[in-house]
């Protein structure tokens, strides 16, 4: 390729200057996200910059996966990818153009909404959110895709109350392993506070259960308004899980002793399972407690899957799930975790990017700009 590169006309890939950046709405390991407007149609979009630094293997496979998955998955509860854009290669950027993923703009994210005490959801509305979340996840799982970064900040909600699963930067396709040939996926995925026990114990042959654990954490957060298990380290996270869901033993989880880190990590013993008892303080609905109990099951094989969860009585008893648009219409400003004032003691840890060293500080986070 020659330097004249920037004069070549690309028939398909549009120039990013067709969008006007309005403000920054997110920042993480994945890069920066901006709110932007199409200069011609005035349509609002979100622009996510694809980080390409230090890539020895060309275009990052994680970004390619994300693009591929988003092109493949078209669902009401999955963020819609509009197109991929690139900036012009000029002498100013040393002839390296930047790529952007353009998606529909959503007004809020769940973490932002929950951190705002003025936003109050009633039981029907909570049901609607959890139901949409499971709907999206069921669609993902039936298409053999794992999200691998479920957390409140990755769940977007439009002003009309439609929930969209977003940030597929860690997502990948999966296949059910056959006995002789276990999968070997990376276990450095999922933000620590939402990470299920099997990943913490080094499992590499995991399945959709890792995402449903996250749904459990997020669902509880609908009432507690703050992440329920905020571990500082992997060890600490396992300890918090044991304190809530009971000790991790061979009795409650057959074959746990075969996991790579079993015996290498200290697990606290003698803990009683108290998911319902502890959450009872916040959650008064019995069906909700029952479902949380099934989602936060230690053994991934016994954990409820998205399909079964959708049939749970929680969604089919009064008050039924109701539309969110009335509640949301009272709030005219966008609520994003990135823009929200920091809640005391709730610093979101960044997800472990695959390939990061094991002794990685889970408290790593990016400074917010006010």
């Amino acid at each position: 390729m020659q330097r004249e590169d920037h004069n070549i006309h690309y028939p398909f890939c549009q120039d990013s200057s067709k969008y006007e950046k309005l403000c920054k709405i997110g920042q993480g390991t994945f890069g920066e996200v901006f709110k932007a407007r199409d200069r011609n149609t005035k349509r609002l979009v979100a622009m996510k910059k694809i980080l390409m630094e230090n890539e020895k293997e060309g275009f990052p496979i994680t970004a390619l996966r994300e693009i591929k998955i988003l092109q493949l998955l078209k669902h009401d509860n999955v963020l819609n990818l509009v197109e991929i854009c690139r900036s012009k290669a000029t002498p100013y950027n040393r002839y390296k153009s930047t790529f952007y993923m353009i998606s529909d703009f959503c007004e809020h994210d769940l973490a932002g909404l929950l951190s705002n005490t003025n936003v109050k959801f009633n039981l029907g509305e909570i049901k609607k959110i959890v139901q949409q979340l499971l709907n999206g996840l069921y669609f993902l799982h039936s298409n053999k895709i794992l999200h691998r970064d479920m957390k409140a900040a990755n769940i977007l909600i439009t002003k009309n109350g439609v929930l969209k699963l977003a940030d597929f930067g860690l997502a990948r396709s999966f296949s059910l392993s056959n006995k002789g040939n276990p999968n070997r996926y990376t276990n450095r995925v999922v933000t620590l506070w939402y990470r299920p026990p099997e990943l913490l114990l080094g499992e590499r042959d995991y399945g959709p259960g890792i995402d449903t654990w996250g749904v459990g954490c997020i669902m509880a957060e609908m009432w507690t308004r703050t992440p329920i298990m905020q571990g500082r380290t992997e060890q600490h996270q396992l300890q918090l899980i044991s304190q809530l869901c009971g000790s991790i033993t061979k009795e409650v989880w057959p074959n746990v002793e075969k996991l790579p880190l079993w015996g290498k990590i200290d697990l606290i013993s003698g803990q009683r399972r108290k998911v319902k008892d502890r959450l009872n303080y916040y959650v008064k609905d019995q069906y909700a407690l029952e479902m949380l109990d099934r989602l936060l099951t230690i053994d991934p094989a016994k954990r409820i899957d998205a399909d079964t969860a959708l049939n749970h009585d929680f969604f089919w008893t009064d008050p039924m799930p109701i539309d969110l648009s009335t509640t949301l219409s009272k709030h005219t400003t966008s609520m994003f975790e990135y823009l929200a004032p920091r809640r005391p003691g709730t610093r979101q840890p960044a997800p472990n990017a695959p390939g990061k060293p094991a002794a990685h500080n889970p408290d790593q986070h990016f400074e917010r700009v006010f």
């Binding site: 390729m1 496979i61 690139r86």
Partner: protein, 223 residues
């Protein structure tokens, strides 16, 4: 059509231990790219090497850039000694990495394809059920059709027809070339191929088969 490039491409693919579907993806990416651009504009060997690399990523059958460079170099320069680690190696690596972005851009990042493979496999299991067991065992229908399908990627068939139609036509050609019949075909109300793909016609099948045969002729001329 640059048949020699495709042949080299296939050899490289096999040496990189890519499975059939990634190989098929590489071919489609290659054909789609050269639908937009001419062979005079871009070096087909470079594009072919790059498509292999992209296909490996897209289909979760990743090969390292290093292997792509080495295998491609070895396939293209068989009389020369293997590539040494040095300026040339790093230059080739960077070229492919840059070319990757270029190809992705040209394709507008549309890298998900529905291949005929899954349909063919599905149809074959039906045929197996329909046929007398001894006949199924006797004729290498699966092997022949799989080989035909692989060869079909030398042409741009994959861009012109629906994957279901390609799979049916390949199956049709396989049965013809082995002189095999579908049981009760004469008395059946619906021809077997209509059962597999409702919107297919005998004309479409014959067109696809005709084009496939043409590809083999081209190959003969070029070798």
């Amino acid at each position: 059509m640059p048949i020699p490039v495709k042949l080299k491409g296939k050899q490289k693919g096999l040496r990189l231990r890519l499975k059939s579907v990634p190989l098929a993806t590489a071919c489609i990416v290659y054909h789609r790219f050269f639908k937009e651009y001419t062979l005079q504009q871009y070096d087909p060997y470079l594009i072919a090497s790059t498509t292999l690399y992209i296909a490996g990523k897209v289909e979760e059958n990743q090969v390292t850039l290093r292997d792509v460079v080495n295998v491609c170099y070895r396939t293209l320069h068989r009389s020369k000694p293997p590539l040494e680690m040095g300026d040339m190696f790093f230059a080739l690596k960077e070229t492919i990495a840059k070319c990757e972005l270029f190809v992705l851009r040209a394709l507008q990042f549309r890298v998900v394809y529905n291949h005929p493979h899954r349909y063919l496999l599905h149809y074959l299991t039906f045929i197996k059920e329909w046929m007398e067991p001894y006949k199924w065992d006797e004729l290498p229908l699966a092997r022949t059709s799989w080989a035909l399908l692989r060869d079909s990627y030398h042409s741009t068939l994959c861009l012109q027809y629906k994957p279901q139609h390609i799979a049916v036509a390949i199956l049709y050609m396989t049965l013809e070339s082995h002189g095999a019949d579908i049981p009760f075909e004469d008395t059946a109300v619906t021809p077997w191929w209509k059962v597999f793909a409702e919107d297919i016609t005998l004309d479409i099948i014959k067109q696809i088969v005709g084009e496939l045969i043409n590809t083999y002729d081209l190959e003969m001329i070029s070798s």
